[in-house]
């Protein structure tokens, strides 16, 4: 049914100047209401406890206090202050004593000497039984992110009340004592493994430097200092983490002094915070990269374009890609050009391609390589294989990760210059995961995505493209027996120098195979209020939100 708009009255039909004026006045009155409301709000005697409270602002809430089910970095961060590990990373990211005063590695066994006089937050004494219980629980039931470091664990035994010996099936280059949070047996031991898998652990009890205070789901978490902690007590009387659903609100909160530090500043906001008074903003190396991955699945069920199984095509795409351009344009300079599968933050483990090894920003070489490999240029500017199939590939990126989309677009332009056509489609993050990891028949050619190393040891990142990780983390279905063999060798090599050589050899091999084009190493952007706390140590990976919790323990309130 159509109705003609009917003016209520002759005056209503047209906006006279006076009506317009009144409209404006009324609008003003509407807008003034909240001010009036605020003025009428009762005077409160509420105070905000800022006294020696270290306040962090971030964008997502923790998922759980259960260290065996958590998947978010936020939760791991908070839990690292509630639970102690046997050994811990210091501010230099080197292992140091924690619940164990010493760890001795001898072949396939690691012997930990436990600290005396440690108690749980509820007052119960900490014993070797707690350590054995934790390791056995994780290893036997494959619980949580740390289970991967205990696959070779044979037995966990106490030789005396202060000594725990872990025996593995083969030597372990990585000490799992650095990452496994020790849980109280008197609380967890009564639960079945399935109950543990669903245990929210709403009132976590650990041995760590902070005790649980309160959690408001979706909003905030707060901890208080553990006055009975075994170590040097932190100056902070408590720590809190506040969730902001909006980048600008979060930046505003830092400026207003509502929070003291933001561990992950979005690049768009960073520029604005950099020159703000009383704020120190730093750009640190991180343990994250973003990469272009090729579907190299040799499985017959794979629906990826088989032309990508030719290493020369992948290398040509590598020569086409201009990583410096990606870092400068897609990341506004808050990233450095990528290369190896290990990030430069890994220090002496990191391998950097030199001279002729470099596969980057060299369109001439890309063209020469494709010409000699039998992919002549077609009439439409797209190269063709010998059977006439054009070099056309699908590329996917997560729509909401604008840097990935921008990277894909730049890559598209670079590839077009050497006669390779890429069709870009944007997907959401969950579709990305289910498409890429579809082991039943991966139906994609190229993606843009990223990785964070979950641990400060090369084994995690190097372990991603293992044959055994197809169906697990191996996102490109890469499979190379020599690479797998080198992995096993380095994982059991206790001599650091020899291990470094093996690790570098693996990086070189994987780089040359070009199943990944690591586009950029991300910078970690952090910003803090320098009038609130001092003594921050700028560590690769971040002052906080890193493998070390020590900045929480070592910063002091300004003026004390």
């Amino acid at each position: 049914m159509h109705t003609e708009p009917q003016p209520d009255s002759p005056e209503g039909a047209r906006l006279s100047r006076r009506t317009l004026l009144r409209t404006a006045l009324l609008t003003g009155a509407f807008l003034a209401t909240p001010g009036a409301l605020a003025a009428c709000a009762p005077a409160t005697t509420n105070s905000v406890s800022t006294n020696k409270l270290l306040r962090v602002g971030w964008k997502s809430d923790i998922d759980t206090f259960n260290p065996l089910t958590t998947v978010t970095t936020e939760a791991v961060e908070v839990q690292s202050l509630i639970y102690d590990t046997l050994m811990a990373y210091g501010l230099d990211l080197k292992p140091e004593a924690s619940l164990a005063t010493a760890a001795k590695q001898d072949g396939a066994t690691i012997t930990y000497t436990l600290r005396d006089g440690v108690t749980w937050h509820d007052g119960t004494a900490f014993t070797a039984d707690d350590v054995i219980y934790t390791f056995e629980l994780i290893a036997k039931n494959e619980l949580g992110v740390n289970a991967q470091y205990l696959v070779d664990l044979d037995t966990a035994k106490a030789t005396d009340p202060k000594t725990v010996v872990l025996t593995f099936k083969k030597p372990q280059a990585f000490d799992p004592g650095l990452v496994v949070p020790i849980l109280p047996k008197h609380i967890w031991g009564t639960k079945t493994p399935d109950e543990v898998s669903k245990f929210p652990n709403a009132d976590p009890i650990g041995t760590g430097p902070f005790t649980f205070k309160e959690r408001k789901q979706g909003q905030s978490v707060a901890l208080s200092r553990n006055e009975k902690w075994w170590g040097t007590k932190p100056a902070a009387a408590g720590a809190s983490w506040q969730v902001y659903t909006n980048d600008d609100l979060m930046a505003q909160a830092l400026k207003n002094g509502e929070v003291d530090i933001i561990p992950q500043v979005p690049p768009t906001v960073f520029a604005g915070l950099k020159d703000t008074k009383d704020l120190t903003s730093v750009s640190l190396d991180s343990f994250s990269f973003h990469h272009i991955g090729f579907n190299v699945s040799a499985d017959k069920k794979s629906k990826g374009n088989p032309l990508l199984l030719d290493k020369k095509v992948r290398q040509a795409l590598g020569y086409a890609l201009d990583r410096k351009q990606v870092a400068e344009i897609a990341y506004a300079g808050y990233a450095s050009p990528g290369g190896s599968i290990l990030m430069p933050s890994f220090g002496d483990f990191y391998w950097e391609p030199q001279g002729d090894e470099v596969i980057d920003n060299n369109p001439d070489k890309a063209n020469a390589l494709l010409d000699s490999a039998g992919y002549p240029m077609g009439p439409d500017g797209v190269r063709q294989a010998s059977d006439g199939t054009p070099l056309k590939f699908r590329i996917i990126a997560i729509a909401t990760t604008s840097t990935d989309v921008r990277t894909a677009q730049l890559f598209q332009a670079s590839a077009a210059k050497v006669g390779i056509k890429l069709d870009l489609s944007n997907v959401d993050s969950d579709t990305m995961a289910s498409t890429v990891y579809n082991t039943a028949g991966p139906d994609w050619d190229i993606f843009v995505w990223g990785w964070d190393s979950g641990v400060n040891d090369p084994s995690y990142m190097l372990g991603v493209p293992l044959t055994s990780q197809i169906g697990g983390n191996n996102d490109v279905f890469y499979s190379n027996p020599s690479y797998d063999a080198l992995y096993d060798q380095q994982a059991t090599e206790l001599d650091r120098t020899k291990r470094i050589a093996l690790v570098k050899q693996m990086q070189q091999m994987f780089y040359d195979d070009s199943a990944y084009l690591v586009a950029v190493y991300i910078k970690k952007l952090q910003s803090y209020k320098n009038t609130a706390w001092t003594g921050w140590t700028e560590t690769p990976g971040g002052m906080i939100f890193n493998f070390t919790r020590d900045n929480y323990l070592k910063v002091t309130p300004k003026g004390s």
Partner: protein, 322 residues
């Protein structure tokens, strides 16, 4: 069968249909929630299969549906993948926060909206009438999130003094329970104001139109002829009869708000149903999403049912034709 009982049975049938539809809708969305849970854990296939079992994602879709229905009848809404907690607890907390925001904004919107509507309607054709109508239409056409961002900018950045995020001040120390109440009240101001500014026009226009119509009825002419004072004429005879459509509108408004505050909740980080739904969509948390949609649908159905009942009492002319 009494008409009311009949209505009630239809209500139950609708709820069942919605529960079923919700379940299948969320399970045919592409994307495997387990992939999100298991990514970057280096899990063996056995461990993934075990997780599938723990989260009730093994078995056919039909089996999962039967389990879901059975649990639902026992008040068990399931276990959240992403928040690692019972869904009923999560949804319960969010619902309380949303109801708080909703009650405040509904009261303001309905009461103030009716008052302004009566003001405009009783001055039908005058400048004050057209000014009110135009002003409210201007606000009605503004996007909710935009008004919210504007208020954040004005009161959070420019003038300051009003909290722009969350439901309480982070790390606040309260002397007593009134301290908590006043803190929450301060946090309520901007989200409530945002909803009120945008939605109030709805009630102004309805009340005004309805009143204008009633004022033209013959019995109003009679009342005027009796020489009744203007105030009694408008409020005692006009408004009383004009409020019927407003009642319907209020009930529908409340039910729509349970879901419709998403924009406001996201802008102001208000931890209610809207924000929960938004976050659950992003993390593909089926159990939470199913529960959210269940609560929202039931709210709409129950509100409609209540509207029917109230309407019948207010206006005996209304009958159900069976």
């Amino acid at each position: 069968m009494s008409p009311l009982l009949r209505r009630f049975l239809i209500l139950l049938a609708s709820i069942f249909a919605i529960v079923t539809f919700n379940f299948f809708l969320f399970h045919v969305i592409p994307g495997d929630p387990l992939r999100l849970i298991a990514r970057s854990q280096h899990l063996t296939p056995e461990a993934v299969a075990h997780l599938r079992q723990v989260y009730g994602l093994d078995g056919s879709l039909l089996e999962q549906y039967v389990v879901y229905l059975n649990n639902l009848l026992h008040g068990d809404l399931g276990y959240s993948f992403s928040l690692q907690e019972n869904v009923s607890d999560i949804v319960g907390r969010a619902l309380v926060n949303t109801l708080l925001l909703l009650t405040c904004s509904t009261i303001i919107v309905v009461v103030v909206g009716i008052a302004i509507g009566v003001f405009a309607g009783s001055r039908h054709g005058k400048k004050s009438d057209s000014t009110t109508v135009v002003t409210s239409l201007v606000f009605w056409s503004l996007p909710t999130f935009w008004v919210g961002m504007l208020l954040v900018f004005i009161f959070g950045v420019w003038i300051g003094g009003l909290p722009i995020s969350g439901i309480t001040t982070p790390n606040a120390v309260y002397p007593n329970v009134f301290g908590v109440a006043s803190d929450v009240a301060r946090h309520l101001i901007l989200p409530t104001l945002t909803l009120a500014l945008v939605d109030i026009a709805f009630f102004i226009i309805i009340t005004r139109t309805s009143l204008v119509e009633v004022m033209g009825e013959d019995y109003m002419l009679t009342a005027r002829g009796k020489g009744l004072p203007r105030r009694r004429l408008v409020w005692g005879h006009g408004v009383r009869n004009a409020l019927l459509p407003v009642v319907t509108a209020s009930v529908l408004y409340i039910s729509a708000l349970v879901a419709g505050a998403i924009q406001v909740e996201v802008v102001f980080s208000w931890p209610g149903m809207g924000l929960l739904t938004y976050n659950s969509v992003l993390s593909r948390d089926y159990p939470v999403l199913e529960a959210c949609f269940l609560v929202i649908s039931v709210a709409v159905l129950v509100a409609n049912f209540c509207a029917d009942v109230v309407y019948r009492r207010l206006d005996p002319r209304v009958t159900v034709t069976s």
